[in-house]
């Protein structure tokens, strides 16, 4: 549903986006991570057919962003960095207005508006002026606007920023529901926990270039190396008789624990478990050493900043 090749954008002599290749299928969520000014917004604006690429191409919902800009815009929902709400309007009027802009017929418009306001808990405040709304309420309304015409592709910039935990959960649930209903989503976020829980693919952008892209597991292996596992025993147990399968390397050993690095966990972990079991090892826990997306991100960024070849 979203495909780009060598997507690039130059402003005067500055390349804001430089050679981005993406492929996001229906039912997938891609998260774009990066510092402020890394090129995430410019990428999203090119995917929204607001900016023309200087080089390369992009297809969104089957349409070329340059040749079929209008079709692209009709097929996507965008949550912009700023909410972009008209503060003198009520939520009802606001969604009604965008429903008209997207050409929804009156009955469908009203139904959709009420449904979204109800879902996001704004129904009671629907008649109040948006100017009186809290930040979180505004964010939810902006999200409702992006979803008003039920688009196939959603480009969401910081969808849960300024929201209370309950509302943020609500939005995350909705994003998950959209994913399961085969929508394509692009998420720009600084909330790495949220990205970890939602994204199928993660792209880390630095100065307009994608430094790393892949699933969370791929990125962890790629950036932090093979995963480390800790095996804890219920009591002191002599593990010297345990022969580790090839691809598993011992890192440390104590009386009641082992730490091993495993190259292909899917393949090796079952073998290791079998061996432990055959030796009647009192295994209390077999767990991966926690490695977060934050570690991946910080490592990538520190490598990039230290690498003068990256521009």
């Amino acid at each position: 549903m979203i495909e780009t090749h060598d997507l690039s954008k130059q402003f005067h002599d500055f390349w804001a986006v430089d050679g981005i290749n993406l492929s996001v299928q229906a039912g997938q969520i891609l998260a774009l991570l990066g510092q402020n000014g890394a090129g995430k917004t410019t990428t999203v604006r090119m995917l929204t057919a607001l900016l023309n690429p200087t080089r390369g191409w992009a297809r969104v919902a089957g349409y070329d962003v340059v040749k079929n800009g209008r079709d692209v815009r009709a097929s996507i929902g965008v949550l912009t960095e700023q909410h972009g709400l008209y503060t003198r309007m009520s939520a009802n009027e606001y969604l009604e207005f965008f429903g008209q802009v997207y050409g929804l017929d009156p009955s469908h418009r009203t139904q959709r508006r009420d449904q979204l306001l109800e879902y996001f808990g704004l129904a009671e405040a629907a008649q109040r002026r948006i100017g009186e709304y809290s930040k979180g309420m505004r964010q939810k309304l902006a999200l409702a606007r992006a979803m008003m015409h039920d688009p196939g592709v959603l480009l969401l910039d910081e969808p849960t920023s300024a929201m209370d935990p309950e509302s943020a959960r609500l939005v995350r649930d909705e994003i998950a529901r959209l994913k399961s209903s085969k929508r394509t989503l692009v998420l720009c976020s600084h909330n790495l926990t949220e990205v970890e829980s939602l994204a199928d693919q993660i792209a880390i952008i630095y100065r307009g270039r994608i430094l790393k892209i892949g699933t969370l597991d791929q990125l962890k292996i790629d950036v932090l190396g093979t995963p480390e596992y800790e095996i804890k025993f219920a009591w002191d147990w002599d593990s010297s008789g345990l022969e580790l399968p090839s691809g598993a390397n011992l890192l440390s050993r104590t009386a009641n624990s082992l730490k091993v690095r495993i190259e292909r966990p899917q393949e090796i972990n079952p073998i290791l478990m079998n061996r432990l079991s055959s030796l009647s090892a009192p295994v209390m826990a077999f767990q991966e050493e926690p490695r977060s997306l934050e570690q991946v991100y910080l490592k990538v960024m520190s490598d990039a900043k230290g690498n003068t070849n990256v521009h």
Binding site: F11, L50, H83, G84, R88, V101
Partner: protein, 476 residues
């Protein structure tokens, strides 16, 4: 058609609702609509009483229409603030991106903004008119004729379109509301001067003159709308280019376009001036047509109207004028009065002034100035004929030798101006407002420096040193 227009009304409807909910827009409008007609009425009454003492009937007759013109102007000026922030204000508040990300066409968004920008001041202006005319009737002052009222309503409507369309062009191209408000003087000052001119027309001209004012203002307003649409690009509204005012870049862009990478003067003529000249060929043909029509019209006007004027003019003055034309001019005297540098500067300045007039009016005033210059030939030809002097020999000897160079130079310079204006209001894909302007200016400079200046120099030398000899020979 309605489906296409519907989004225009959706955008306009939302904006209008927004404006009517903002007391900062409504309060000054209400004050202007309610108070200004009352003040103008009191002023008109006092002025009429005063002027009656001196039997200044013309001024009394024109006072009410003049007041109507002024009353209509003020609400437009105030509501200009709303039009000025139409795009840049939304950009600052972050509300423009959801609209730009929608499937609406550029022109639908643009016309939605324009419509509401024009509607608010016009509603206020028309209400002011109505209130003022009611007061005029109550005071037993004479209302203008219904034709004049229609003219004034149309003129005010044209003013609203002119000012609002200019404000929206500024709004699209500005980086902030503050910048847009500062640039508003470029609208208010020219329109205030225009209003003075129109007031002059109203007092000293006849009713027909106002139609010309309506036509002129409408044409410029339409061109401004076209300009705004041509340069309305979502990219530049959101992009960073619009923020960059880089004098070095401006100069480099101009110089690169002007030189076009030429390595020598012949190369510059061949590879740079040549292609630029090709671009203005359609404009040259258009201006040749304009020249033919202008010459014919001025000749016909002179032949129709001048006999009566000559009839009523003092006979001795006519005789002296005719004698002067018939007399062989003193070559020495001519050389003392006019020199080649003087003629050269005078003629190139005329081409430059035509360009300036064209730049501020998207070629309209430039073409008018060109028409006036060319029309002189037809008019003068007619006058000479009417005075009984053989016109053809006089023109062949006195105009043709240097005219062969001077007239093509005038036409080329004016055609470059016309091309500039027409191209400026034509969509320039992939180029910003600034880039398009600089490139077009560079095109005009190529024609001016490469063609107009050399031809004018040759013409000036011929006019100083050869034409007088030929003319003297013919007259002798």
């Amino acid at each position: 058609m309605f489906t296409k227009l519907k989004p225009v009304f959706i955008i306009a409807g939302r904006e209008l609702k927004d404006q009517f909910r903002d007391w900062r827009v409504l309060a000054p409008m209400a004050v202007l609509v309610l108070c200004f007609p009352i003040l103008m009425n009191a002023f008109a009454q006092q002025s009429v009483d005063f002027l009656n003492r001196y039997n200044a009937n013309l001024i009394i007759d024109r006072l009410v229409p003049f007041s109507i013109l002024i009353i209509g102007f003020f609400p437009i000026t105030v509501s200009l603030v709303v039009a000025l922030e139409a795009f840049v204000g939304e950009k600052e508040r972050g509300t423009i991106e959801p609209i730009l990300s929608s499937p609406l066409e550029d022109w639908q968004i643009y016309f939605g903004k324009l419509l509401v920008g024009v509607a608010t001041p016009l509603i206020a202006s028309y209400l002011s008119f109505g209130l003022y005319m009611l007061l005029v009737i109550r005071r037993d002052l004479t209302l203008p004729s219904s034709l004049t009222i229609i003219q004034l309503i149309l003129l005010t409507t044209a003013h609203a379109f002119l000012m609002v369309s200019a404000a929206i062009v500024i709004s699209v191209q500005s980086t902030s509301v503050k910048a847009a408000n500062l640039l508003a003087s470029f609208i208010v000052i020219p329109v205030a001067i225009l209003m003075q001119g129109e007031a002059g027309m109203l007092f000293w001209g006849n009713d027909n003159v106002l139609w010309w004012a309506v036509l002129g203002v409408t044409i410029v307003a339409l061109l401004l709308i076209r300009l705004g649409l041509a340069h309305f690009q979502r990219e530049y509204l959101l992009g960073r280019e619009i923020d960059a005012v880089n004098l070095r870049w401006l100069w480099h862009t101009f110089w690169r376009n002007f030189l076009g990478g030429a390595r020598s003067v012949p190369d510059w003529y061949r590879s740079v001036v040549g292609p630029s000249f090709k671009k203005i060929v359609p404009s040259i043909f258009a201006l040749l047509l304009v020249a033919t029509v202008s010459v014919l019209l001025s000749y016909m006007w002179v032949m129709k109207n001048m006999p009566a004027i000559l009839e009523s003019a003092p006979k001795d003055q006519i005789a002296r004028f005719t004698q002067n034309l018939r007399e062989t001019p003193d070559l020495k005297e001519i050389r003392e009065k006019v020199s080649a540098p003087y003629l050269f500067l005078n003629n190139t300045r005329a081409v430059f002034v035509i360009f300036l007039a064209g730049v501020v009016s998207f070629s309209v005033l430039g073409v008018l100035a060109y028409m006036l210059n060319i029309a002189l030939i037809g008019g003068l030809f007619g006058v000479v004929q009417l005075l009984g002097i053989p016109a053809w020999p006089l023109f062949i000897g006195g105009v043709l030798p240097h005219g062969i160079f001077e007239i093509p130079a005038l036409i080329a310079g004016s055609a470059a101006m016309l091309y500039f204006g027409v191209s400026f209001v034509t969509p320039q894909t992939g180029r910003s407002f600034g880039e398009a302007g600089i490139e077009l200016f560079a095109d005009w400079c190529k024609i001016f420096v490469g063609i107009v200046v050399p031809l004018m120099a040759i013409a000036a030398v011929i006019e100083t040193y050869i034409t007088p000899h030929i003319l003297i020979n013919i007259l002798n």
